[in-house]
Amino acid sequence: MSLDNPIRSSGELEDLHGVLVERRSEDHLCISICTGTGCVVGGAESVVDAFVEVISEMGLEEKIEVKPTGCHGFCEMGPLVTMTPSGYFYPQVHARDAREIVEKTLLNNEVVEKLLYHDPQTDEAIAREADVPFYKHQKRIILAENGHLNPTDIEDYISIGGYKGLAHVLDEMNPDEVITCVIDSGLAGRGGAGFPTGKKWEICQKQPSEPKYLVCNADEGDPGAYMDRSILEGNPHRVIEGMCIGAFAIGASQGFIYVRHEYPLAVERITLAIEDARTAGLLGEDIMGSGLNFDLKVVRGAGAFVCGEESALLKSLEGLKGEPKQRPPFPVEKGFQNKPTVINNVETWANVPHIINNGPEWFVGFGTEGSAGTKIFSLVGKVNNTGLVEVPMGVTIREIVFDIGGGIPNGKEFKAVQTGGPAGGCLPTSMLDLPVDFHALQEAGTIMGSGGLIVMDEDTCMVDVARYFTKFLEEESCGKCYSCRKGTQRMRELLDDICEGRGTPGHLALLEELGHAVNTASMCGLGQNAANPMLSTLRHFRDEYEAHINEHRCSAGVCTELIQYTILEEFCDGCAACSKVCPSECIVGEKDSLHTIITEDCIKCGSCLNVCTRGAVLITSGGGV
């Protein structure tokens, strides 16, 4: 039994599943190599090639399977290699390690000491993936599958019970029951707003107008967030299955997956998965002989952040400029080509099959009241363990940053964490114990957003961060609303003034007033939240703004116009490394004697700081260090 012929019934799917499970269980050794973007940059492809070569040289192709998988999540430590069934795990693997791993670990069940992961906090060597603190404190439902699946092999997905949820829905449930199940689970949109998914489906299903459409929003534009990409790249069939279940419940026959063009691998993987699902009779006409017709089409975005906003996304789907429009009517009433359309985020769709398989009570079992289930966050910035983490809603920011993330590198102080992307806000140290759920974050002046968590340390200037996000939004504003178009520009200009030493106390009052006006008067989510980065940093880090204005001091040493570089006499050994790299030739001094920077000529590029091995170059600002 194989996938040469389309699957005609749920019984056939079950038979195939049985065959696949049996085929893989006999003495099956598997080595999974993460080929997510992070690991690929670290050289994962050559690691895969090396394993394939070593295994074929040793004639072990029948015994050991080499599986390139999607993102495992622990991007900081890539390329990652895990072995089943032993559960052994090696980080930062090189191609040259392949032979030793095969000979020792796979064939003799013996660990290679020098490759083991060492906990940076305790320096303890850890052999199994499940014992690594980064993984141990997570609750991985969606991400867990990424590490064991070959995303280009539909049989692999079926072997872990894939499309079982769809088969169950088609055989045993009616559309209303499916919607009730999703409503009972409390699943809320993972893309940002947190609207109850089941409710959205119900409203759409009840619309008299036909046909109905489904959209998967994979226009993941928030800089610093890449969970949707990892799901599409690592587990595309989970999303397709979720959408098929949605199509059955809502009565849609056509769906779209709108992906950023910046994610070419995601486009490739999901396109292939759609073709494979079609060939297998799991997508297209008469799915699994049930009479359900549903097909999917991949649409690429062309680089506009605002297209993540649903009404703008719909315009872009129709081939037009992605300008948002007034809501209501909402897309569930009048969406794609004015027909009822359900738009859900990638992670939301991926949760659906799990809810069908395990029941709504199981899903409610994770998380808090009002925020059920798990959420994937991308933990990035100044943190030891950068990567994707999946946790139950309601864990605290402290747990995520310190227990899972391993704290701040190089012994620096934690300063803030930014949540919710450019339209979100920054939370200070005093809010580390805030539980992460939709409600708590909103009360704290920020949003969940798509799940980016950007950690900042003492070397991050909060005024500069506010300027960075405001500039981002200024560039991405579609220009339709005056308040957003000009408001973001004016806010950025005021922040420029403060960062460049032209700020006055009046700037802060003006920023606050302007911020509220922009948020109130704009039409779409981008404009309505455009002032959040500035307002939230102003709320929690007002002293930094005041230091910039009153003392011309940037304590983080980031704002170029407010800092000076100097060389400390007691540390400089006259190696001349700094004067060699200085592009403006403003460092003078004889070889082997003290060097000095001519401040007036210094362009503050930081080259000298980067090359000095003795720590003699110092940044000062406003009279302080």
Binding site: A225, Y226, H261, G381, V465, S607
Partner: protein, 179 residues
Amino acid sequence: MAASDASSASTVEEITPPPLDMNEVDRILEQHHSDSTELIAILLDIQDALGYLPIPALRHISEQLEFPINEIYGIVTFYKHFKLTPPPKHQFTVCTGTACHVRGAVQVFREFERQLNLDTTICNTTPDMECGLETVNCIGACALGPVVIVDGEFKGQVKQTRVSSMIKKATRSSGGDTE
């Protein structure tokens, strides 16, 4: 509307190399059944094939789809990915996502600017079109920030001190190709 289009178009056309294979454009139009709702996909495919969107190609699309040229121009300038000028031989793309930003992407970007001597009047390339510099909002390789993409190849944890050797390496390899 038409007047302002024409003026910006003429500056762009000045640096556009003349040979243009309109058959390629027709082939792509056909693939999309000359359906104007597929305009963005058509433009993406043409840019993939030609490296940019030449104005004559846009005029041709406008005629074939019976879709106003000013609308097409509006779409092309709305989406960041579309380019009206030919790509440089070597493209350096600095990721300025938040994670890269807090890890010092700005310094890396400024270093590229200093080293490359760009002509910023029309497009961000060197006058000989050898090297170009651009930014991208986030490519999702945040663990490795700051990230720079050199001719499609990702480089992680880039320090500004590495910039000049990255430029040298990229331009040297092209010398080998043309020989």
